[in-house]
């Protein structure tokens, strides 16, 4: 099945999880689009299904129903490693047996970039995330913030057509989080990266994203720009959660 939309389209997506032998919907009929170069934040309380939705887009979850497509072609038959997407985890998931440069170069290696071309690209990315000269450091010696910067560089290195970010800043303390949110917004704009950004922090969503989708109990209840959301008022249940 094809559509004419450019970029990412998610249509009527359902993902279930199993608890005590019963299947419950984690993502319950969600549809949205993300245009090339746009950053969409998925905002909602923990357990609302936003991370599951992100993993489903990456191809890491089994879809009960619905379609994930890119530039109009259905990705159902495309395995995770051929989607050309990037995914950044909450806790980085850096490879402990590789140094910083080895981590950043991993995606380049997988896509067959020649050795000679990897080095400058790695240096360029480390510079962009503010870690110039960190290439030979062991990941175990990095602070939490540095790890997430390396994870971001690693995700961006193979120039993914879509970057998925799963609460990349949640494990950090507040001051660092605000700083990194601004850096993240800058890097995504500079690289014209199309991205879906999952968070439970409203400020973070407003800082990083062009548009924001609000999720509750597996459903997407509102989508709009920061201005639109402020104007029409965020859904009451969501407001209660966000503490406004």
């Amino acid at each position: 099945m094809t559509t004419t939309a450019r970029g990412l389209e998610v249509r009527d997506l359902v993902v279930e999880y199993e608890a005590d032998g019963i299947s419950l919907p984690a993502v319950d009929g969600v549809s949205f689009q993300v245009a090339p170069g746009e950053v969409l934040a998925l905002l909602g309380p923990s357990g609302c299904g936003k991370s599951t939705l992100l993993r489903a887009i990456a191809g890491l979850e089994h879809l009960v129903r619905g379609i994930v497509s890119w530039d109009g072609s259905d990705l159902a038959a495309v395995p995770v490693h051929r989607r050309g997407f990037g995914l950044m985890f909450q806790d980085g998931q850096l490879f402990p047996h590789r140094d910083v440069a080895g981590n950043v170069a991993f995606g380049l290696q997988m896509t067959g970039v020649p050795v000679a071309d990897r080095k400058p690209r790695v240096a360029e990315l480390l510079e962009m995330v503010g870690l110039a000269g960190f290439g030979s450091r062991q990941v175990a010696t990095l602070s939490g913030g540095e790890r997430q910067r390396v994870a971001l560089a690693r995700s961006l290195a193979p120039t993914p057509r879509l970057l998925l970010l799963d609460e990349p800043l949640s494990a950090l303390d507040r001051a660092l989080r605000e700083q990194l949110a601004e850096d993240l917004a800058r890097v995504l704009r500079e690289t014209h990266t199309t991205a879906v950004f999952v968070t439970h922090d409203q400020d973070e969503a407003f800082t990083v994203a062009d548009r924001i989708g609000v999720m509750m109990s597996g459903k997407l209840v509102q989508v709009g720009t920061a201005t639109e959301l402020r104007a029409e008022g965020i859904d009451r249940a969501v407001r209660a959660f966000l503490g406004d």
Binding site: H81, F85, F95
Partner: protein
Amino acid sequence: MTVRRWVVWGLVAAVPLAFLGLFFALPTGTLIARGFSTDGALDLSGFGEVFGRPRTWRIVGLTFLQAGLGTALAVGFGIPGAYVLYRRRFRGQWLARALVTVPFVLPTVVVGVAFRSLLAAGGPLGGLHLDGTLVAIVAALVFFNYSVVVRTVGGFWAHLDPRAEQAARVLGAPPWRAFVSVTLPALAPAVTAAASIVFLFCATAFGVVLILGGLRFGTIETEIWIQTTQFLNLRAASVLSVVQLAVVAVVLGVSGAARRRRERALHLTAVEGARERLGRGDWLPAAVTGVFVLVLLMLPMLSLVVRSLQTADGWGLQNYANLATTGGRGVLNATVWAALGNSVRTAVLATVIALVVGVLVALVVSRHPRSRSGRRAIETLDAVFMLPLGVSAVTVGFGFLIALHRPLGLNLDLRTWSGLVPVAQAVVAAPLVVRTLLPVLRAIDPRLRQAAAVLGAGPWRVFAAVDLAMVRRALGLAIGFAFAVSLGEFGATSFLARPDRPTLPIVIYRLIGRPGAENLGMALAASVVLAALTAGVMMLAERWRPASAMGEL
């Protein structure tokens, strides 16, 4: 999971399954069948006959008594040891940890000879008349298994979140109270796991008991050996092997349940917490551990080394020079150095086999298939592959002896095959390889594999970049274990080694069983050589160990 991946993993699993089928299931199956039948007909009279003898009941009782005492003491001393060596820090701690680790991999005959050298008439503690007593056997069992408790409990303790205990202290609990009511319950799964594995090792102890027990003491293991080689009563040996299998199965069940609980335990921090300096308040565990290490661990080894340098006319290296001979009155068929050569060659082969089998098993068992049937298949395989860990070396050796004569009705006699000893040693060593690698593989966050996949790595490249890379980091330790175990293997080898090609442990056992100061001196010197070689291998392997690996042994 595609059909192709099922096929590939099926083939990967088939290699170790075939190996263990032929060299483990077939021999033990034959043993069991022989215990239950005569000429193909069900016949339980063998059981009646064996259990009608008071001797059998005495041996079974002794097995449990020795294993129970050995376990209780190893745990009793091991917990303070784990605290001092893994929860506190002090200068020279790495050396203390290494010292404590060495006994576990020392060959059983070496430990037997070391304790004899200490306790026999003429030894430093000869005046206590402990040679050939229950005390000597239990002391040797504790010597071996102390490190199992210290490392299992200590490894767990180092990763235990200290804040629970701190919370108890803040709420007004004195240190001992906080320990008893908070820390000890949290450690319980690790203590249970260690205790059950130590009980298993004690109950299947063979070499030390054979050397230290004399005629009065024994275990089911030594009894199987005596019935086979001295009385040629294969029927009684088969019945005893079945009893031994039952004991092992029960203990393994308990240990498996404890292990699953430990893997499920959630109080662990990913990294070792900062450890406090050993302080004045730690005097009791520090003193207990210090005395224990000096008296029970160091003294026998020191006595072994010192007495190996004692000759008929004072001090010297005569005993070592004699290793180039076949002993006083030619008790050996080969020189001791030739036996060492046999041992090393055999151990290298056994290590290679154990590694191939062990790595494949660990890789298969650490898969996380999505389907429920896949998960059930993995659980079953895990249990199947762990059986040889518990089954005693003597059972393996005896099983080979009776099963590999015309195996499966084929007209060939594998008993004369020169690869038999390495294969038997590999059966004994492979489970250790699995147990070393598996915790490392299981600790891999599945999201690490997903991170690799999202970055463009296909299933096989994910496997190479994550799983194989992790295995490589723990491989040194696995190789060390496999090699050390094969080098010192005595239980199975004592049934299978050809008289003209003995291994070093066989030669040592033969030397210590013969009269003559010259033979005793050679046994001591050969034990020192074997101990040094084993300890050296393990020290090398330890250096290769990744800091984050939390092994089980």
